[in-house]
Every structure is written in C-alpha cells, then in structure tokens.
C-alpha cells in the first residue's frame, strides 16, 4: 500500500501485503463488491484462456492497453492532496461561486412572468394540472394564485422581472436564465442533496468536492472549498451538502463561521509562539507519516494536510475573511455590517476569497420556503425580506466581479432546490392564513453568470401557468455536466472508483451539456 497515493481503492497497491492492519483489511474487503465479482466473472473465462496459452504476450498487451487509456489521472503527491491539476481541456471558468437559496424561492414572484396566471387568480386549478401529481402539502382542488408582485421588463434583453430585485435587475443582461430546471425530488433535504451531490441519497460527493478533486486549489494557505451560511436556519440537507462523500475527506467543504472568528481556535493559545507551534506540528507530522507508511490510509493524509493547512491559514484566513479591511464605500455597496451573520457579509467574503484563488465558494441563504403557514414564510411578508437580504449583495458581488475582470473566469450560479406551484397552498384542504405556494419539482428557475455562459438569454420555457416545462428541460445532472464542462471537464471522465463503480457527479443516467447556453 505504501506506493498508493491518495486513492483508497487503488487496486494495484492492494495485493501481497499480509501484515496489513486488520481494520484496513476489513475496509479493503468491503471495497470488493458484487460489481467486482460480476466483472471478474465475465472476464474470468477469457482471462483463463489468455493466462494459459498467451502468458508471454498477455503482460505486454495489458501494459500497452494501460498506456493508451484515456481515463484521467488525479493522483498527487501524498503530501499535497490539494495540489492544482490542469483541467482536461482549456476551461472557461477557473472558480465557482454558488449561491444556494435553501427552501426553494418562488420563481413566480421573481423571474417567471405569467400574465395568464393573473387572469385566473383565485379560480379553481384545472384538473389537468393536478392529475397524477403528488404535492408536499396541497390536497383537493387548490386555487390558482397570481404573482404577488408586479413585473416589468428590464435591460437590453427585455427580461421580465418582478419589483423585488431592484439591484439585481441592473445586471439582468449579464445573467443567463434557465427557466426549465427539473428535479425529481419534492422534499427539501433530498432535493438539496440532488442539487449538491447529484444524488438524492446520503453519502455522495458534493459538486465542490468533485471540483476540488479534479482541479485542486491554487492557494494552499486557504481551503479550496469554503462554505458560508448566512445565519438563520441551516439547510435541511445539512452538512452532507458539502460533504466529500466517498472522495477522501480532504476534499470536503470547510464551513467557516459567519460571525466572530471565521475558524475557531485558529490562533495560537497565549504563550505559544509560531515557531513553537511549528516544532509541535513537525513532531505530529512525523508520527502521522509513520502511520501512513504502515497502513496507507488516505485519511491519514487528510489529517496531515489539515494540520498544515491550519498552520498556514493562521496567516491568511483571518485576513481573507476580514471584511473590515474593505473600504466603507464597498461595504455599503453590499449592505454589509461587519460582525453579524448575513448573506451580504458572505458575498463580500466570497469576492475576497475568489480573489485569493479559492476554487469553490458555496453560499447558503435560508428561509425561502414560502408555504404561507406563518408570516415568516408568507410570499407577501417573509419572502420580501428574503429578497431584500439577497438582492443588493448579489448585485454588488456581480458588479465587483465584473469591474475587476473576474466575471470572465468565474461562474456564479443562483438557485434553489426546486420551484413553487402556481397554486396557492391549501394545507389539508384549508386555505392558509398567509399567502404561500407549495413545492413544485416540475419546473424551477436558476440563473448563471460568468465565463463561458451566454449573457442576457433565457433557456427553456414553462407553460402559461409556470407549472410544467414545455421546452428544453434541463435535469440537475445536465446542469452539473454543464458546470463541469465550463470548468474544463467531460463529466464522464471525472470519476472515482468506489463500490466497484466509476462514481460520477452526474451518476449513471446520461447527462447532456446544455450547449444552448454556452457562449
């Protein structure tokens, strides 16, 4: 195992090590699956033949086959598992800022202009919209609900937008809307998992982890995948949304605190100097290196790397996260107030991190689940607050990236985990006290901005009610494939062996890069 790099499933290093630690042996046995068995079964007969009659040539043939293989090599020096690697082909973007609106914002109150819905406001929903559908809460025959806010056209592209996003609308010509996003999950946690890991179940690697695995990170003094929450409620999907799943845990997202110190206990305790800290770490590293040499467990590498990263971060992280270092005018542009947990602060931090070479920056906002069960989640009350909280900082982030020339090679993605129904929610058949909409996995809207994406366009279309997709549906896996394409990867080539399968972000169903939105 000592020759295997940061890959637990490297089969080459597995054989012929009889004094292996029992735990590791167990782990290796668990890595052998039904798929391996079937694969061996199929190849077995042929191998027997080749093995007996063509033994001399067999070795040469396999070697030749290996050198021609087109699968990409992601092995790195064990001491630097996050080292930058070039993309498969020339990339359009070099970093991603993903703004996830947990709870699923209503597209019908923001970007989806449906005048017919206004005409039919308050009428019973036609049966054809309900047939064969299952909703999270709607039961019986709900009433159609018009958009709660007026729409107007903005920009050169003439995109219709509601009056809730007065700052963002100035950038509408930089945005590429996908109005035909589709998911197959109608509850928050699985839907968020699907958006972030390509799979609705637990245990899969997140988008950011895949990107970090594929590209590494340039700035070794900061984590390559940073997660920031804007206070309030954590996303329903929990920390699994930035988990590395089956990838080595060194690739998982690092959640930084949104107020106070960004990373707890990063500073040295009183009376411990930096040289003393270094001496201590060197001793720990030596022990860890010995452990790795003995057992070859990649998690040991993660541990070493995390100690080293923490040591380097002592210098850089506090500086990168400290928005007090920004001029007051810039802070005002974002509407940020240092010291509190807010989306505005996080957007400003995101820009600072992007400038410092952080590969994947994931921001979460919360409270978009506008069912109408209480004022906080009512479309006419809490929803308006949410819009206010994200509008100005999102616009400021886009503006800053644009005038720094960074929007050229940064991809900004904004979206929730599913859409909302054109029907007013009637939980248990009762009209709700406040105005709200139920979950709609059938159609939702996201937007992207940045390198490689056509600005000022709309892709896909929904019906007159905004209920179902009528043109150019885009699955979550298509979105992932498109993002990986912009980052310079064929989504089928970015894979990792786990449980006998070449695991991919886009999973096993065929995904399509949405060529229509590529610049």
């Amino acid at each position: 195992m000592s020759n295997s790099k940061a890959r637990p499933n490297d089969r080459g290093g597995r054989e012929g090590n009889s004094d292996m630690h029992p735990e590791l042996q167990m782990a290796l046995l668990q890595a052998q699956t039904r798929r391996h068995f079937l694969r061996t079964l199929g190849g077995g007969l042929g191998t027997l033949f080749v093995g007996t009659s063509l033994a001399e040539y067999a070795g040469a043939a396999t070697d030749a086959g290996r050198s021609e293989t087109t699968s990409l090599d992601f092995t790195r020096e064990p001491s630097s598992p996050l080292a930058a690697l070039p993309p498969q082909f020339a990339a359009k973007v070099r970093r991603v800022i993903y703004l996830h609106m947990a709870g699923a914002p209503s597209q019908l109150e923001l970007f989806e202009y449906k005048p017919d819905l206004k005409r039919l406001d308050g009428q019973d929903c036609p049966a054809s919209f309900l047939a064969g559908k299952r909703f999270a809460f709607i039961s019986g025959v709900p009433k159609l609900l018009a958009s709660q806010y007026p729409f107007h056209q903005v920009g050169q592209s003439g995109h219709w937008i509601s009056d809730r996003l007065p700052h963002l609308e100035k950038h509408v010509d930089d945005l590429c809307f996908i109005k035909s996003m589709h998911t197959d999950q109608f509850n928050h946690a699985p839907a968020q998992l699907l958006v972030h890991t390509g799979n609705a179940r637990l245990g899969y690697a997140s988008l950011g982890s895949w990107v970090l695995y594929g590209l590494g990170t340039e700035n070794q003094n900061l984590p390559g995948f940073i997660v920031l929450l804007s206070g309030g409620k954590s996303p329903d999907g929990g920390k699994q949304l930035w988990s590395s799943g089956f990838l080595p845990s060194v690739y998982q997202g690092v959640q930084c605190r949104s107020h106070g110190e960004p990373v707890l206990y990063l500073d040295n305790p009183p009376e411990v100097s930096r040289p003393l800290r270094r001496t201590m770490l060197d001793a720990i590293d030596q022990i860890n290196q010995q452990t790795y040499a003995a057992f070859g467990n990649p998690e040991t590498i993660t541990r070493i790397a995390q100690y080293e990263l923490a040591f380097r971060m002592q210098m850089d992280a506090t500086d990168a996260m400290d928005i007090r270092k920004e001029p007051a005018a810039v802070r005002a542009k974002y509407g940020s107030k240092p010291g509190e947990a807010s989306f505005a602060n996080n957007c400003l931090v995101a820009r600072r991190l992007a400038e410092r070479g952080v590969r994947f920056i994931q921001l979460y906002h919360w409270g978009w689940d506008s069912h109408g069960a209480d004022p906080k989640e009512a479309l006419n009350l809490g929803f308006a607050d949410r819009c206010r909280e994200v509008d100005q900082p999102t616009a400021a982030l886009l503006a800053d990236l644009k005038d720094r020339g960074m929007l050229e090679d940064t991809l900004v993605v904004w979206g929730g985990e599913f859409g909302r129904t054109p029907m007013r929610e009637n939980r248990n058949g009762q009209e709700m006290k406040w105005v709200g909409r139920d979950h709609n996995p059938g159609a939702f809207t996201i937007w992207m901005a940045g390198g490689g994406v056509k600005p000022g366009i709309t892709h896909g279309q929904t019906d007159e009610m905004g209920c179902e997709i009528v043109k150019d549906p885009v699955e979550i896996r298509d979105l992932h494939a498109t993002m990986l394409y912009l980052l310079g990867f064929d989504h089928r080539k970015l894979h990792y062996s786990f449980q006998g399968l070449e695991q991919k972000l886009t999973s096993v169903k065929p995904a399509r890069v949405v060529a229509e939105i590529l610049a």
């Binding site: 340039e218 005038d403 050229e408 060529a515």
Partner: protein, 502 residues
C-alpha cells in the same frame, strides 16, 4: 401433424411397403406446402394497400416481429449441424438436422402468415414491404424444399441440391431480414451510424442526401419539407405509405391519404395533419406515433404558419415573417464534443519546455500550471503569492515567457522594471495587473501583445496616456480600468469604444 407422427413411428413403417412410404412422405409434403401456397396466393390477390383493417388480424399480426426470429434461428442452426456433423466426432448432430429443418419450415410458414396479417391490416404498403413479404414466403418454400430433400436422403445428387437449397435459404434469411430491418428501423439503418473511415472504404457518401426537392428559396422547400423529411417520411414516404399518405413531395402531400386531404390551405384547424401533431401526446391519433419523439414547438409553429399562409408550394421563403428560426434543422445547436487527449502529442508539444516547467514549479509551486492536460500553454497566477512575488521572480520565468497565455499579477510587488518581461509574453490572452504599481510606461511597451483579449489595470496609477497603445491591441475585447487615473467619462479612441470597463 398426425402424418408426421406416423411417419416417425417404427410401427407404421414396419407394415408399409417402400411405395407406401414415398406416398406418405408426399402426402405430408403436400399438407405442409398448402399453407405456404395459401399465403402466396393471399399476397398475390390481397396485397397490403396502406389501409387499416380488422382489429383481430392486427392483433395477431403484431406478433410477427416476435415469431419471425424463430425460423431464423432454426434455419441458421441447420448448416451448423450439418457441417459439424461432417466431423466423425460430431456425426450424431446430423441426425437432428432434419428435425430442426422441419421446425424451421413450420415456424417460417407461421411467421409468413402473421406477416401477411400485419402487412394487410396494419396500414402498410410500398415496394420494400412487398419485397420483404415475397422474401419471407420464398424462405418458407425453400425450407420446405430442403426438408423434403432431407427426408429423401441418400443420393449424391439430391445431397448436392440440398446443399445449394440450404445456402439459398441462408441467403434469403439475410436478405429478407435486411428488408425487415429497413421497414422497422429505416432504410439506412445499417450505415446510418457507420464510422466515417468505414464509409469511405465502402464508397458511401458521408453527407446525407439532401431530401429537399422543392425550391430551396420557397418557404415550403426551405422550412416545411425538411421537417417532413426528418420526422415523417419513414412511415409516410416512398417505401412505406401508411394510411396511403406520402409526405415526400408537395404533390403527394396535397393529395392526402385514405381519408382525403390532410392539409386545407389557409385552414389550420381544419387540417388533419395539424390536428394530429398537436393532439395530447397520449391520444390515439397523435403523430408521430407513440414511442417517437413529437415535433418540436418550433416545427409545429412553422407548419401552422405555412398552412395559415395558404399552404403554397411556391410561396417565397421571406414571405412569412417572424417564423421561428433554426427549427428547420432539429439540431440547430449541436451538442458539445469533448477533445480527446493524445498523450504522445502532448509529450511532443511540451518537449521544449517540460524541463524548464518542472524546474520553475519547484521554485514557484502552485502558481504555474498548464492550461489543460492536452496543452503546452501555461497559466501564471502570481497573485497567489501576492507581495511576495516581485520583479526578480518574474525574470526567472523568462524561459517560459512565450508559452504563457494567462498572467495574473494582481497584488504582486512587480513594478515597471518588469515591462520587458511582460512584453515578451507574446501569446498572452489575459493580463491582470490589478492592485499593482504598474504605470503607463509599462503599458506603452505592451503593443507587441497582439493576442491580448483582456487587460486589467483595476486600481493602478495608469492614466489616459496609456490609451493610445491599448487602442492598438488588435484582439482586445475588454480593458478593466476602474479605480485608475482614467476618468470614466473620458472620450476614448475609436477602437476602444465599448471596451473600457469601469
């Protein structure tokens, strides 16, 4: 069937004289030939004519594609048994050949009957179908012939004829099967996805034959006919004309099908063709038939506009305004293709610089990287080192200058002393000098960067004096000049209009 059982039973044979046995075989032969001849007569007198008939006949006819594989397998097994049987170790195999042949004949007859039911009642017609049906019936007849010859075994001459007949049968299987494949999968189903190289070897053209026969500058010829050609003519074309409808020419389209015209000029809603392509997907009358992709919204719109405008065959293309564009070709935006990396080629490309890159990456870990796995271009991101990167460091990168396509010096300590080092990076597409002390004197020396597309001087002491040089950069698309001494209201030289970003 009882005859067959009798024939095989030893009891029966024991009490018969030689002549009786011959006549018994003949009787059996005539009995099995009868259904084959019946189908042949049916096909000759009642050929498929594109009309749909009795439900029951269609129901059993639908089993034709299933049953048809049984005689294929049996018949192909026969020569295998016979040939293998020539080897004395497997001679016992020959004993079963006659039995398998009998099964092949019976199943071929059954398949032919089902095939006729399907063809006659399922609304098919056309030369392909006729050929396929005659092929199938001939195959049943050849099976019968082989079987008869096999039963009267012995003589050298009949063995030879038997061999020829068997070979003929195998050939018929291939030919009839190919025709059947064309019927169900399209005429070019074998060559459709053939790799380009093989196509050339076989002398096939690489370009799909143009199906548009009407004038390319008419709306019909340019926008409507390609839709029919791509989506409809497989079933309503020269080879199959279901419901007696052909959409492969303007004349046949306007003539209509078995229920009369399908297009009524100017009357969109009264046109059966339009009604059928716009029905709910699960409607029985919906076209294209279930399982096939519906027409796209743009395609439907084009047909609607065309019928509405009079369904003319000569209306000029430009006569109908605001027709959806791009929909004439269903793949207006082609899917992305992924470059394959050829390791040998990459090694060759990088041969000149690989040692220098390896050496310099030791000195500057993390800031120097190839643009991609297949490229020898380099990306230099010195901004990672920030103020720790200075003029002397940049000098060290001189050996690689001509391979750097993106250079980011944001927040570094480089000064105007690096001007010549930057100017030497002839392949630069992106240059970032944000938050540096670079001044006009450096920018004025960058006129050599004729590949530069993006120049970033955000938050530098650069003044309008640099603009004339910047304006001469031929490929420049953006110059980011906020927080410089260049005022955002400045009147910029002509080539820079719209390119300065503040």
């Amino acid at each position: 069937m009882s005859n067959l059982r009798n024939l095989c039973s030893g009891n029966f044979r024991r009490y018969l004289r030689w002549g009786d046995r011959i006549s018994g075989q003949l009787r059996l032969g005539l009995l099995t030939l009868a259904p084959i001849l019946t189908v042949a007569v049916l096909l000759a007198l009642l050929p498929p004519d594109g009309n749909e008939r009795a439900e029951w006949a269609q129901f059993i006819g639908r089993f034709h594609p299933l049953v048809v594989h049984i005689p294929i397998a049996f018949l192909l097994l026969v020569p295998i048994l016979e040939l293998a049987g020539l080897n004395h170790r497997f001679s016992y195999l020959r004993l079963s050949a006659g039995f398998v042949l009998g099964l092949a004949m019976l199943s071929a007859t059954g398949a032919a009957i089902l095939g006729w039911c399907l063809g006659r009642s399922g609304g098919y017609s056309g030369p392909l179908l006729t050929q396929h049906m005659w092929g199938g019936i001939s195959l049943a007849a050849v099976c019968w012939l082989c079987w008869m010859l096999r039963l009267s075994d012995g003589e050298q001459r009949s063995t030879f004829i038997y061999g020829v007949a068997l070979a003929l049968g195998v050939g018929l299987v291939a030919w009839t099967g190919y025709r059947g494949g064309q019927l169900s999968l399209g005429e070019d189903h074998l060559t459709e996805h053939m790799p380009g190289g093989l196509r050339q070897v076989l002398g096939l053209s690489n370009v799909q034959a143009s199906l548009a026969s009407a004038g390319a500058n008419t709306f019909y010829g340019a926008r409507v006919e390609p839709i029919f050609a791509a989506r409809c003519v497989t079933c309503h074309g020269p080879e199959k004309h279901k419901a007696n409808l052909r959409l492969d020419s303007y004349r046949s389209l306007m003539r209509g099908g078995k229920d009369g015209p399908v297009v009524r000029a100017g009357n969109v809603q009264g046109s059966d063709l339009f009604r059928r392509i716009t029905l709910p997907l699960d409607h029985d009358d919906f076209m294209p038939k279930q399982g096939k992709r519906p027409l796209s919204a743009d395609q439907v719109k084009l047909i609607e506009l065309w019928i509405g405008a009079g369904a003319s065959g000569t209306l000029p293309l430009a006569a109908i305004k605001d027709a959806p564009t791009g929909s004439a070709s269903p793949t207006a935006v082609s899917d992305v293709t992924f470059e394959e990396i050829d390791p040998a080629e990459v090694t060759r490309l990088r041969a000149g610089i690989a040692p220098a890159v390896a050496e310099l990456r030791k000195r500057f870990p993390d800031i120097l990287e190839y643009e991609s796995r297949g490229s020898a271009n380099l990306i230099l991101n010195a901004s990672i080192l920030g103020p720790k990167f200075g003029d002397s460091d940049l000098e060290g990168l001189a050996p690689l200058a001509e391979h750097i396509t993106l250079a980011d010096f944001s927040r570094t300590a480089i000064t105007d002393r690096s001007a010549s080092a930057i100017a030497a990076m002839k392949q630069l597409r992106v240059l970032r000098l944000m938050h540096t002390r670079i001044t006009d004197s450096t920018l004025q020396r960058l006129g050599t960067l004729d590949q530069l597309e993006s120049l970033n001087v955000f938050d530098t002491p650069v003044t309008p004096a640099a603009l004339p040089t910047i304006a001469k950069l031929p490929k420049l698309a953006h110059c980011y000049a906020a927080q410089t001494a260049i005022p955002s209201q400045i009147a910029v030289p002509q080539p820079l209009i719209g390119k300065l970003v503040f």
